[in-house]
Symmetry: C2
Subunit: 216 residues, 2 copies
Amino acid sequence: MSPTITAFANSPDRGRGLARDMRVRWALEEVGQPYNVRLVSFAELKQSDHVARQPFGQIPTYQDGDLTLFESGAIVLHIAQLHPGLLPTDANARARAISWMFAALATVEPPVLELQEAQFAEGDKPWTEQRLPLVKDRIRVRLAELARCLGDADWLDGDFSAGDLMMVHVLLRLAPSGLLDEFPGLAAYCARAKARPAYQRAFAAQLAVFTDSQAI
Amino acid sequence: MSPTITAFANSPDRGRGLARDMRVRWALEEVGQPYNVRLVSFAELKQSDHVARQPFGQIPTYQDGDLTLFESGAIVLHIAQLHPGLLPTDANARARAISWMFAALATVEPPVLELQEAQFAEGDKPWTEQRLPLVKDRIRVRLAELARCLGDADWLDGDFSAGDLMMVHVLLRLAPSGLLDEFPGLAAYCARAKARPAYQRAFAAQLAVFTDSQAI
């Protein structure tokens, strides 16, 4: 039996591949593993069946036989440890690739999430217009550090890894803001990742969910 | 040779154990591994020697022979994979404990960091007083979900794991705000963790750095 992941029945990104199921789809495509998808409505996200799988009522989750996992980082790491293709075999290089996964989620993504909160949860607040430049500057600090570290390399540390997959997906969430275009090296890094056949298959699969939902 | 970690020479938390080196110290104490500490000043954090170890100019880092790691999550996971004591031996339980590490860093910590930014980076802004309740409410959502999931259990999933270590340390960063006290189950969870001898040894070690810095 292939594993089953959960994804939004109606993704708020309208099929742009920015929701976190994209990370898991992409990882499964990179390692060549088929998977099933259970679509979850916004109402179902907070209901007990789903909360039993995901305590915070989010997507994605991952079920494989007796195992249920949540958190895109944990799921991608699990897939990368089960199947070759997303982590180096050398133990030290493997640990470093995992460092980049955590860096994507714990250092780069928090200010990106803060921008989303500012734009959506606080979009109607009187302070938001004045405050947005500060939030964007906090993101620019991280992007400049990341761009310096990447330099002219194709990927963050040797071959493409789960660390690049996570980092690129976090960065892609900035594309609508225009911030990514301020760092051509990072924009090119994301473009290289998006050109991967596994990314393209994953993107098409999540887009099909959106397209189908519109056809109903 | 024991591994060497980096920590603040002058921690902004004044020895309260809230900086991220505490997570690594605690993990090393849980598995009974000695370690060395290199103290880094604020100026040194952004200098090339340290940036070569830590692209974002943060602490902690971890060096063990040829291996250099950064990100507290990656370092704690590495320690937990090398030594028994922080992850279950059963493969599924192990993957679930790692899910909790990611949940701590990618789902619970981002709104906690947002509160810190609001209080420190934006403490002098005209909107901060009005905005703080919104930020705190976003944290309360996560704390309520976490408290419901923990229920009456001692730890998040079976025995104490690296997932609990990460989650507790993220929660402890909320102690100064009073938010943790609104969730007695979570406050008790943190108290149980703080009573562990390994926590206490780690706490004493980081406090000694602060005390020594004051004595100069």
